[in-house]
Amino acid sequence: MNTSLILLILAFVGLVGYFAGGRHAMALVGGLSSKLHSRPGYYGSFVAIWAIVPAVVILFVWLVASPIYISSSIRGAFPEDVKAQSEAEQGLAYGMISSIARGMNALTNEEIERIGSNPVDLRAALATKGVPLAGDPKPYMVKAAGDLNVMTDISRITMTIVVLAASLAGAFLAYRQIAPRFRARNRVEKAILVSLVVASSIAILTTVGIVLSMLTEATHFFTHIPAWEFFFGTVWDPRFAAAGSGGSEGQFGLIPLLLGTLYIGFVAMLFAVPIGLFSAIYMSEYASPKVRSVAKPLLEVLAGIPTIVYGFFALTTVGPFLRDLSSQLNGLVTGNYSNFIQAQSVLTAGFVMGIMLIPYVSSLSDDIITAVPRALRDGSLGLGATRSETIKKVVLPAALPGIVGALLMTASRAVGETMIVVLAAGVAARMQINPFEPMTTVTVKIVNQLTGDLEFTSPQTLVAFALGITLFVITLCLNIYALYIVRKYREQYE
């Protein structure tokens, strides 16, 4: 029986349990629900929970554990010469066995007998069923595939029986417990509370997952390439991973990527900070409510546009525009119409990213400026300062820590931004200071290394995880520090 059918049956058992439980409780007190400890629905839910939850837990544990167990026992039965081969070769052999097994399920019994164990015939027969094999199967593989199918079938049947039995047993036991003074509501609420706790720990699990997955893969990478070569290397030249060869060692220097990331982020902040800050000041201090109610949502539309759209805008509009502009300028000044700004450049990417960041800067600092107490402004205005003087000398200094926090958060966004730089910054990892030339970033290289064919053993793939953990740590530090500043600042005025 397949998994979704089992789940459907469980849901049905639960539903029946729900109604039966409720009815049973009512019957026990002769239809007077006031004599029950809890409302009848709680008795029903109690039965339903016992019918479904333990069974589902068993089901999922089984689904995760049984393939692992089966694969290890199949691999354990490999002939000695195969066991002597490398981990990757054994993986390939196992992959072949599982596709043979899949194909054999599609064949009829007569076909299997007719083929016997002739590998070439088997391969041809499987191909007609839409299961292509990478090579001619060896006899031990055919036998292992048969074992695999048998074990899978046994596991499936046992699982179905065990799960359904658990469900029925749970429902039955819970049903038996129902009594007028039985505190069903408290039990059900306890179960709900547990599920709430589980849901909120998913946030923790996500973080743990991020850190663990990246750390393990990055550690694999550092067994190929020493950590100091990665963190302090100045040349990025990963070479290509040739399939099966294990990959020729390239050079994986983080520094050029990091410089590119910081440079582009810096250019972006150069555009975003003044524009965003001035917009925030204007909207919170000068604008009439009417202007504010139009301008603020308009600016926030910029934050809602997907970054891929910005990337495309940079690639097809801003980049060519800057390139043509530079060639015209160059022509006017020197008479030589060659462009000095590349279409893909630090400037293009930084500028477009700056536009994207404007709403972040403005809405974050808007909140912070509005949080500065009215009394400070009134005091300053009352002493005869103009509005701009009040803002420059009183409001901004008071809001400074909060604004710095907001800028740090924006900076972390600039560092982690991907699509704009993938399309507009270029792919050449270079160390230079000309903003008109292309540079590349950490995120671009993560995308480059992980699109296309992957081999989880080559440093060319694994380096992406080392880059990822670097990125994660940088943004995490920026954010924690920013949150700390903002929180501290907020306390100051509360």
């Binding site: 849901a199 990246m214 997907p306 891929i308 495309f312 097809t316 403005s362 103009t386 993560i446």
Partner: protein, 439 residues
């Protein structure tokens, strides 16, 4: 007691000229400062306009497609010369349909059957997609073989671009993709009304194609739809449950503090990191299929959860404590007070936050690139476990194509994406307007 003051007060000073306190300069500074603010705001809004204008002006033509309507003779000679289709139905699948279309067009244009160069030029005016279109017609109704039908066929991408005026005809013939003869034919066909722009339904339903005129976002739309469904089904209940716990039940201790800091940080983790997580955990460790919208949905769920949790907590916080107190006072348990009274009142705020989170997830590209959704998928995925792409990923792939006609397609796809986002955001705003309560 006025001794101290009187000497000063007593002296009647001659009225001195007003002390210069730089009022003019200060007012000028004030005006300047204000102007900076207006300029900054205007700059932001102007760039929003430029961005939208650049996308729309490049992309609106993608919703029209040049097509040629003409009589097509389904000649037995070309499709099935040996008359073996009864015995071998496969014959109809592999017949040379482009020749059928080319001959029809050649006939309309008056190009002779022996003019091979001319015939090749004629053939280039039609899209490669005519093969599928004519084949489907014939397979559906083999009786039309030997008859002549009026059919509307896709023109090739180059003719489409030329007809829309996107190809500079002043460039020398050798350096552009349509030659002068084709342009002449095109004008001739357009004058006779055979060649015209039709509404391009194909862009909404077609799958990936290397021919721009036949490429569409159909597969990507399905993929995105699956993913949004998965995000909604997973992220909304989990997010609401987590926020209820944190907001209403959680004791103040180290553990809940940790969760709280965690959620705030997860909201700021770069999206590409979620892609790495998905690749390492879901694809590599758990062995889920690459390129599947199911995995994409899981990754986007994890990414959207913090947004939903933050919005839900704000909505729960906005429900006044008096509601809880009243319910508790009437004998409801804490759980009942929350699920029966607080949660329904907070629902509009929760849904608004969820829609905004979904809109964010819909536009997200980077994590999907890493789990292999950059795939050339021409067939519709039937389940979320089949390979598929997503709308923003399709945009990314088209953006990397060199052909001119793909720029138009890309912008068209962006318009579709933006329309969906506008729809979702307007929905969120309406929801908030309609149901939001001020306490």
């Amino acid at each position: 007691m006025t001794d101290v003051v009187s000497p000063v007060a007593g002296i009647s000073k001659p009225k001195a000229a007003r002390r210069d306190i730089g009022i003019k300069r200060r007012y000028a500074a004030e005006r300047r400062f204000r102007a900076y603010g207006i300029a900054a705001l205007a700059f932001g809004i102007i760039f929003l306009m430029v961005l939208l204008w650049s996308v729309v002006s490049k992309g609106y033509t993608a919703f029209q497609q040049t097509m040629i309507t003409m009589p097509v003779e389904f000649s037995q000679q070309v499709i099935d010369p040996q008359n073996e289709r009864a015995a071998n139905p496969q014959k109809l699948m592999t017949a040379n349909y482009p020749i059928v279309a080319r001959n029809a067009l050649a006939k309309v244009l008056g190009v002779g059957a022996d003019d091979r160069v001319g015939l090749r030029s004629v053939g280039q005016m039609l899209s490669d997609g005519v093969r599928v279109q004519l084949r489907d017609m014939v397979v559906a109704n083999p009786a039309i073989i030997g008859t002549t039908q009026t059919v509307t066929l896709l023109a090739s991408g180059d003719i489409d671009s030329a007809f829309k005026g996107q190809i500079d005809l002043n460039v020398a013939q050798e350096n552009r993709k349509v030659n002068d003869q084709q342009i002449k034919w095109m004008t001739q066909l357009a004058d006779s009304g055979a060649l015209a722009k039709h509404f391009n339904g194909g862009i909404f339903v077609n799958g990936a194609s290397s021919r721009p005129e036949a490429a569409g976002v159909g597969v990507a739309l399905i993929g995105s739809f699956y993913m949004m469904l998965i995000v909604l089904v997973l992220a909304l209940p989990i997010g609401v449950a987590a926020s209820i716990y944190l907001e209403e039940f959680a004791p103040k201790n180290r553990f809940t503090d940790l969760i709280e800091v965690n959620i705030n940080n997860l909201a700021a983790v770069p999206s590409i990191v979620y892609g790495l997580l998905g690749l390492a955990v879901f694809v590599n460790f758990m062995g889920m299929p690459r390129s599947a919208s199911f995995v994409g949905g899981l990754v986007l769920t994890l990414m959207t959860l913090p947004t939903i949790i933050i919005a839900t907590r704000a909505a729960l916080k906005a429900v006044p404590p008096s509601i809880r107190a009243a319910a508790l006072g009437l004998g409801a348990s804490k759980m009942q007070a929350i699920f029966h009274h607080v949660l329904p009142l907070a629902m509009p705020g929760i849904l608004t936050g969820t829609i905004i989170g979904l809109a964010h997830a819909l536009g997200e590209t980077a994590p999907l690139l890493l789990i292999g959704m950059v795939a050339f998928v021409a067939n519709y995925p039937t389940t979320p476990l089949d390979p598929s792409t997503a709308l923003p990923v399709q945009i990314y792939m088209w953006a990397n194509e060199a052909e001119r006609a793909f720029v138009e397609r890309t912008s068209g796809a962006i318009i579709i994406l933006l329309l969906f986002l506008i729809l979702m955001n307007v929905g969120a705003i309406l929801l908030r307007r309609r149901f939001e309560r001020r306490w």
